[in-house]
């Protein structure tokens, strides 16, 4: 046997570094030649908590602004969607991300960190969302949701989206105040990086309420998609009877989108606004075939209760968009393949990482599926979202450099 001298590291002695953590992802990107096509990540996150001081200055109401300043943001979290995301230290990036040194003080830390993980994963454009704000729809003070959402959107568009073309977002809508939500669309449409608007679905005001019709019309007229981002609410009466985060998370992240999707369809919103594209985020995929079958079966018996529909519920659902993460990849690939067929994945599925959250998915979760041909993989990983968001085809500087290296190697 040979005796060799390798590189030996002690991970306990190393400082947290996103690039190091995602080294294997970067290797996957190189091995799979992601530089050959554009990857769009439709659901990723940053922690807006790190920028609270700056965001609070954008709150227009001086009373609410002072509340936020003095509670250090707890005004936002009167009720929250939080849980044990970090798994008691098992997901190390939660504990250590704050201490990561970020060179290049000229750029906002969130831009630098976001580009770092995007480059490691092979993502060219990422749709960035906040984190604690996923629970803002639970806030009992309607003005707090409206004021904070507007402040965050102003801060995000001015300090992040305007500064980095590879980062885009669908902006938070304060749905407990339909007038403020409509004004958000009117005021922020057309700003750099605004590719749609977002409903966080942990909320209890039904989305088919007449108060929202002007909002949906405004989005349809502008050709902007409306996204529904799921979360869980451990305080919800049904979730309250679960005692493990795995239960609240597994159920809650599907349940809230199931409820709103059901209302959306049986109230005929897709018939009323046929040009309004919807995107259903972070519920995985297995719930879609379940709900399609369930609603179709009941609709055939009770079509009188959904008279606006001209087709079966699943026909409308098949025309909507779904993000891939967290994709149910355990054990039954036949079911997954059938799910892809049922949702017209080749045109309607869009890749999402959800990075840096604990259940993030790499592009390889799509790229390595044996039942997809290369064009379907490219569509799901980037092309479907590029068309949905009307983006130009762009590749990251890292990918361009890899292409150049390959060309040089051939020459």
């Amino acid at each position: 046997m040979n005796v060799m001298t390798p590189i030996v590291r002690d991970p306990a002695a190393e400082k947290f570094d996103t690039k190091r953590l995602l080294e294997h992802a970067e290797q996957q990107a190189a091995d799979r030649r992601y530089e050959d096509f554009m990857i769009v990540d439709v659901d990723s996150h940053h922690y807006e908590t790190g920028s609270y001081k700056d965001i609070f200055q954008y709150i227009e109401d001086p009373i609410i602004r002072d509340q936020f300043v003095h509670t250090k943001g707890q005004t936002l979290m009167l009720r929250s969607t939080g849980g044990f995301q970090e798994m008691a230290g098992r997901i190390t990036r939660y504990e250590h991300r704050g201490a990561e040194p970020v060179p290049g003080a000229a750029r906002h830390r969130d831009i630098v960190v976001t580009l770092k993980w995007m480059d490691a994963l092979g993502v060219d454009v990422a749709c960035l969302f906040p984190t604690p704000m996923l629970g803002l729809g639970l806030n009992p003070i309607i003005e707090v949701e409206a004021q904070y959402a507007r402040a965050y959107n102003r801060w995000l568009t001015e300090h992040i989206l305007a500064e980095e073309p590879r980062i885009v977002s669908m902006l938070y809508l304060p749905m407990n105040d339909p007038v403020a939500a409509l004004k958000m669309v009117e005021d922020f449409s057309g700003r750099q990086g605004v590719v749609g608007f977002l409903v966080t679905t942990v909320r209890y005001k039904p989305l088919h309420d007449n108060a929202y019709m002007k909002l949906y019309r405004a989005l349809e007229e502008r050709g902007l998609p409306l996204a529904f981002h799921a979360a869980t609410n451990w305080g919800d009466q049904s979730m309250h009877i679960t005692n493990r985060f795995i239960a609240s998370h597994a159920l809650g992240f599907t349940w809230f989108n199931i409820v709103h999707m059901t209302n959306w369809v049986v109230n005929g919103i897709p018939e009323r606004f046929p040009g309004l594209k919807s995107v259903w985020i972070e519920s995985g995929l297995a719930w879609v075939p379940f709900l399609m079958q369930r609603l179709d079966n009941e609709y055939m018996m009770r079509s009188s209760e959904a008279p606006s529909l001209k087709r079966k519920p699943s026909d409308y659902m098949r025309e909507m968009f779904y993000t891939s993460q967290p994709m149910e990849m355990i054990g039954n690939r036949t079911m997954l393949e059938e799910t892809f067929k049922m949702i017209n994945a080749e045109t309607q599925l869009v890749y999402a990482s959800d990075y840096p959250h604990w259940d993030m998915d790499l592009p390889s979760t799509i790229y390595d599926l044996p039942f997809l041909d290369l064009q379907a993989k490219k569509n799901i990983l980037g092309e479907n979202a590029r068309k949905l968001f009307k983006l130009d085809t762009i590749l990251s500087p890292e990918k361009k450099a890899r292409l150049k290296e390959r060309a040089a190697a051939v020459a």
Binding site: M1, R90, T92, W358
Partner: protein, 121 residues
């Protein structure tokens, strides 16, 4: 196959980990209860650096004689390697994936000789 030098025996104490890289292959070398274990640093889930996370003992439910739930505790006899990307857990002494033994981290042989620790890659 080659014996790759990890460290001198005295350098690693119980609980320590070293990541050894030889070309494209990375191996995590563990010392636990005086013994050495080595596994490919590649999670069966999405390819994460499984050996660069924490080691945490298995969690168990405590049940009473009537099967009522009394609480939880750690099983100090079953340390788990936890992948830092998503939390997949593997038994440190076997490499088996804790919730599904059909999956595992690839095991590498560790050799101790002349005061040195070597891993076979």
């Amino acid at each position: 196959m080659a014996q790759v030098f990890v460290c001198n025996e005295l350098e690693m104490k119980d609980g320590d980990v070293r990541i050894v890289r030889q070309d494209r292959i990375e191996v995590g070398v563990y010392r636990h209860a005086g013994a050495y274990y080595a596994y490919r640093n590649h999670c069966a889930h999405q390819g994460g650096p499984a050996c660069e996370g924490i080691v945490r003992n298995k969690v168990i439910d405590l049940l009473g004689p009537d099967k009522s739930f009394l609480g939880q505790t750690y099983d100090d006899n079953e340390p788990h390697i936890v992948c830092p990307w998503h939390g997949w857990e593997y038994k440190l002494t076997t490499g088996e994936c804790a919730p599904d033994p059909k999956l595992r981290l690839r095991r590498h042989e560790v050799v101790k000789r002349e005061g040195g620790v070597y891993v076979v890659i």
